[in-house]
């Protein structure tokens, strides 16, 4: 009885220590060394200084910030709208819609990256062909900086919106109905009910989804890797990709580790800020 709980958690804790905590600490040490081929020399904060002056790092950071400021709020807004619709007594075929919108979530990132690459192919892709039927001129998806960003945003939105909507829906269904009834008696219209009852009720899961989307965006790798290769002209280069390039294409482990730590610090700071703004006051 005394020992039993430790034995239950031991495998998880031991594996976590070996394959997560130890590498996390090791990574920090690596970030203080300069890598020249197989040779490693202590360099203090040189890697971090290099990072601060590296235009590509700032480009990747700006691209990531752009996705966070434009794509994430749009996606979460659509997800809230979907959840409210799913929860509405007016809607038919609820189960079908829930499943349909959730389905993209089970598709692997590489698979849907490739699929979107083909669908959005400027010459002969299904999307441009369809738009062409309505007289829309050929859109240079993936080859123009702005359209490539939109393409990555579309792919992300397709993949994650339904998942977020289902999380919101579960929360809405758990909200006490009498708040709505009281608001209706007070004569509040649909919009006011949404604003004063629905949105505040969603706050805890709103925080959860905002934090998850932020972490996901900062780590973004697969979609741009497969869909755009970070291009054109680095318009879709993300921090995750820049880290991979330095670590496993140029084998500059020290510099890649410094990028990883910068990433971790940014995530920590944003997480704290988001908790401050969206967290419960209590």
């Amino acid at each position: 009885m005394r020992l039993a709980p430790y034995l239950f958690v031991l495998p998880a804790v031991a594996l976590f220590a070996i394959f997560k905590l130890y590498p996390i600490a090791w990574s920090f040490v690596l970030s203080l060394f300069r890598t020249d081929g197989a040779l490693q020399t202590f360099a203090g904060t040189a890697n971090y200084e290099r990072l601060a002056g590296d235009p590509l790092f700032w480009t990747a950071l700006r691209n990531t910030a752009l996705i966070m400021v434009v794509q994430v709020p749009l996606m979460l807004g659509i997800a809230i709208a979907l959840a409210v619709a799913f929860n509405s007594p007016l809607l038919k075929l609820k189960a079908f819609f829930r499943l349909g919108f959730f389905l993209p979530m089970v598709t692997g990132l590489v698979a849907y990256g490739i699929l979107f690459g083909v669908l959005l192919n400027p010459q002969g892709g299904l999307v441009n062909w369809f738009l062409g039927l309505f007289g829309v001129p050929e859109i240079p998806w993936l080859t123009d900086t702005l359209w490539a960003r939109i393409a990555v945003g579309l792919a992300l939105t397709w993949h994650y919106t339904g998942y977020n909507a289902v999380i919101y829906l579960a929360r809405l269904q758990a909200l006490p109905q009498d708040h709505y009834d009281a608001a209706s008696v007070d004569g509040a219209g649909a919009w006011r009910r949404f604003w004063h009852v629905t949105l505040p009720g969603l706050r805890p899961v709103l925080l959860l989804t905002v934090v998850m989307s932020t972490i996901g965006t900062l780590q973004l790798f697969d979609e741009p890797y497969v869909l755009t290769g970070g291009g054109p002209d680095n318009a879709t280069l993300t921090l995750g990709m820049y880290l991979y390039m330095n670590g496993f294409r140029y084998f500059d482990f020290g510099y890649a580790s410094a990028i990883a730590y910068a990433l971790a610090v940014i995530i920590a700071i944003l997480g704290i800020v988001q908790f401050k703004f969206l967290g419960d006051k209590s």
Binding site: L91, F248, I259
Partner: protein, 269 residues
């Protein structure tokens, strides 16, 4: 009127969302020329077997599928065991250091996995484990989300049930197997599907740790085809269909367990 508007708006939107699935199933059965033809193919074609044969010849696709299946299965079983044991330990016992250990594990939810990539690569290189199944399976066995999910589910188990078992003279391990696990079946199903999907679709770490063609998993294989000089999209999309469509079907069959099981973890505060 409102009713019709709402339902038809969603019907149009969901069609847009589902078209890529339909088109993926169609495109893999055509040749590259047809796929980009005008108009694009909207019905199944006759090139599926040829595309699969090309995949087999080019990259040994059957080996790739076998790798993906075995890695995902082994991972699901082992990680399922690790997460379930830990979730139970954290939910149903109070012991010294519980909050600290659990907090440490949950740190894994917010620390970007990229931080561990370089050291893990060096570790696998030193152990001579690159291109092996264990290199892929071991590092993520203690999956923080899985542990969190199981702890949430286990907390709902009434303590009286455990007390009754102990009164009957059940040892702790027997108690776990005989009394705790059976009512946990829905949660275990959700965890199992989640773990399988996670491993089946995982890309970055396998991309780093699996460097030879015969060690590739499906995502690596189809991504590698895309870089080829003359990209054969018929092949790639047939491979992509094999990667994505079985998971969609699996999900549709088991969705009841999956969605409710996952939400049990996400929505409770």
């Amino acid at each position: 009127m409102k009713k019709v508007m709402l339902t038809s708006t969603l019907l149009i939107t969901v069609t847009v969302v589902l078209v890529p699935f339909y088109w993926l199933a169609i495109a893999g059965t055509h040749s590259t020329g047809d796929i980009f033809g005008s108009p694009p193919p909207l019905l199944p074609g006759g090139h599926l077997l040829e595309n699969l044969a090309n995949l087999e010849e080019g990259i040994g696709f059957s080996r790739t599928v076998l790798n993906s299946l075995l890695i995902s299965l082994i991972y699901t079983i082992l990680s399922g065991a690790v997460c379930t044991l830990a979730g139970y330990g954290f939910a149903k016992y109070s012991f010294k250091g519980r909050e600290l250990l659990f907090g440490l594990l949950m740190l894994g939810l917010v620390i970007p996995s990229q931080v561990t990539l370089v050291p893990l690569f060096k570790m696998m290189l030193a152990l001579d484990w690159l291109n092996t199944y264990q290199a892929i399976v071991l590092p993520n066995l203690a999956l923080p989300f899985g542990i969190f999910l199981m702890r949430q589910s286990m907390s709902a188990l009434p303590d009286e049930l455990l007390a009754a078992g102990r009164a009957d003279g059940c040892g702790e391990l027997r108690l776990f197997i005989r009394i705790v696990l059976p009512p946990m079946r829905p949660a275990l199903a959700a965890l199992g599907i989640y773990l399988f999907l996670y491993q089946w679709n995982d890309f970055v770490w396998p991309l780093i740790a699996l460097r030879t063609k015969d060690a590739y998993t499906i995502p690596l294989a189809i991504a590698s085809l895309q870089g080829a000089t003359e990209t054969d999209y018929g092949q790639i999309l047939a491979g992509t269909a094999v990667a994505a469509l079985p998971m969609a079907v699996l999900f549709l069959l088991l969705q009841r367990h999956f969605v409710s099981g996952l939400l049990a973890g996400a929505v409770k505060e």
